[in-house]
Amino acid sequence: MKKRILALVLVSIMALSTLAACSKKDTTDEPGTGTKTPPAGGASDGTAETPDGQRELTVWLQRVVNETTNNMIEARVRQFGEENDVTINVELIPYENMMPLWTSGIEAKTLPDVSFMQYQEAGRFYEQGLLTDVSDVIATIEEANGPIIEALKGPTTFGGAQYAIPQRFFSVAIHYRTDMLEAAGFNAPPATWDEFREIAKATTNPSEGIYGAGIGLGATNSDAEWLNQVMLWGLGGAIIAEDSQTIIANSPETVAALDYMSQIYLEDGSTPPSAVNWDDAANNTAFLTGQSAMVGNAGTLLAAIRADDPELYDVTGIAQIPAGPAGFFAPSAGGYLGIFNQSKNQELAKELLAYLFDYDWYKSWIDVEVPSIIPVFERSKDEPEWQDPLTRPFIESMDGVTFIGYPGEFTPKAGEVFNLKLLNETMANIVVNGMTPQEAADILQEKVEAIFNK
């Protein structure tokens, strides 16, 4: 018996030692917050300095399709490191992969110092107390470059302070096939959603695999969520009321709008059958292969066509998102840069942000991707790159840019509703699962209320 006890004690000590070693993080409680801060820096190993004492910054940026853009911004960040004797850990990550990484980073307290984010995430991170006030950096940048488009600062301004800096926007416009529209008897792109439906029906020819409306649904499809959102607003529907608190997802106006939107799939049959489960890339493919006559997309699609398919480029037209009875609304898919407050090198991180907005470099970086990326400065509208008929609609769309939460203010809760792609799910409930618009809207109402009541 004694032997067993001895052995068990021995094993337990070894096990506990291992556990203790595993959990022996040099963390400190922050008074009043109940959270722990890593010992230093926001670098992935939780240190602000490398073992040889050099300062260190970890930066997560969005990886986009255009490698030149990726290379330019990575080189710019590294250049900052060299000029300021800072060790740089920079990673370029596709947007759809960022949420799991942020999630892990929050849990493990291994967030980067600086990160790309959209304003929906910025709202969520602000609510969790994870972001640093960057109002002073914005002031510095505006002093040098002139004002940032005022509307873009709104969604990341909380309590009068700014928590993320607008870096670039992805304006969405209708890409249409001029040849297909002309063959169907239309000489101009749709200006309203009624015209959109009419043209989509006229250009649809299932026997040739052509569908007029290249719009889709999908559980992870943020492009589709945006298009559904602006269509809903344009048709007079909304999820959240003007007071930013009342949920009106099953109001008669919203139900009517959902009914209208679902008819494009069910009655008109002008969307490809696969559209009910598209991912973000699928509408691009549909347009590039001639499956769809019209798709709503950022300028990345036009840039790809211009680079790879001159014949298609010649028959591609660009128009603003159609307006509805309630007006014109454009998606506000925007990229922001923020600093996580776990960072122990916050001043250095702020210097890096200002460095990334040096106007000459910034313009050269944006110019690579005109019209995929929209600059955030007022003065950019007058730059020659944006005067072309194929690029102008993208920058003009910024006038109709509408933020999640409309007709109320953008709030982190509204951002959460968007991130869950609940509108896509609602449309799928009608189009795929056979629910009535009212039934689907009631479920949407319940889900959004649950988020707001948390």
Binding site: V11, A15, M99, T220, P273, S274, V276, N277, E416, E425
Partner: protein, 295 residues
């Protein structure tokens, strides 16, 4: 200090030798399990604090239509995929155990699906199922069998069938390799004696082959059931759980809730609900192994 007897030294050495395994089990199995169990009864979100909420998460899950659909989809997916893998795996094993030309090459080819990374095979299947330039639709339309692309991944019912087929393709080689090992251990004399007694191929299969490989068959089926039940990559990469949650299974549901919606406790609770079923399977497998050792 009294010197330790030889027996004591031996026992101490034995405990020291098993200590790494015990530590491993405590650190990497028991501790995470207890943590997960605790989290499932809290309202913990990613980056948030955890307050005890009892069985609220489980009640919420049971009331959640999508979760209930995920449970049903998981059962359908697992049942048909395992059935398909066992049948196909058995056929593969029998063919490869027979005297056929290019036997070794056939065996290598057979195992390719199992050796390719799931990511690659899932993306290849996605291309094959695509309605734009996809392999299956191209063949069917070229042969004038259909006049419009078949919505393999976009029709709710077809999507489930499509992901099951992909899973069967990927998982059948495991069953085949397991059964092939069992088949090769059956003495040829048995078949010769049965043949002399007039037993035809079906009788030989039912009365000699199946009883001889019964243990391997049961074990490999149980193991593949657990794997299929927990499958994530094929479903996520092919359909993302859509369209309209038609292929949403427990693993994709948990991922969406945990990593997309940041609701950690609900995601863990959804996994916990499946645990009793998996524990039963694991217990059966363990008992089978014990029985095999005794035999």
């Amino acid at each position: 200090m009294r010197a330790l007897s030889r027996e004591r030294k031996k026992e101490l050495l034995a405990y020291c030798l098993i200590a790494p395994v015990i530590i491993y089990l405590i650190v990497f199995m028991l501790f995470p399990f207890i943590w997960a169990l605790w989290t499932s009864v809290t309202n913990r979100t990613i980056g948030g604090n955890a307050d005890f909420v009892g069985i609220d998460n489980f009640v919420t899950l049971v009331r959640d239509r999508v979760f209930r659909q995920s449970v049903w989809n998981t059962i359908v997916y697992t049942l048909f995929a395992v059935l398909g893998k066992v049948v196909l795996g058995m056929i593969m094993a029998l063919v490869l155990n027979a005297q056929i030309p290019l036997k070794n090459l056939s065996r290598v080819l057979l195992f390719i699906p199992w050796t390719i990374p799931t990511l690659v095979s899932a993306l290849t299947w996605r291309w094959m199922y695509s309605d734009v330039g996809g392999f299956f639709n191209y063949i069917l339309m070229s042969l004038n069998i259909v006049n419009a692309p078949v919505p393999w991944l976009y029709d709710p019912k077809l999507a489930m069938v499509s992901i099951i087929v992909a899973n069967i393709w990927r998982g059948a080689p495991f069953i085949a390799i397991s059964l092939l090992a069992g088949l090769q251990s059956i003495p040829e004399d048995y078949y010769e004696a049965a043949q002399i007694d007039g037993a035809n191929a079906i009788i030989r299969f039912l009365h000699i082959t199946i009883p001889s490989i019964k243990d391997v068959l049961i074990l490999s089926t149980l193991i593949t059931t657990i794997w299929t039940f927990n499958d994530f990559e094929i479903v996520w990469l092919l359909t993302g759980g859509g369209p309209g949650n038609a292929t949403q299974i427990l693993s994709t549901y948990g991922y969406t809730v945990g990593f997309m919606n940041l609701n950690l406790s609900k995601a863990i609770s959804s996994s916990m609900i499946a645990m009793p079923f998996l524990l039963i399977l694991v217990t059966i497998i363990t008992n089978r192994f014990k029985k095999s050792e005794v035999d």
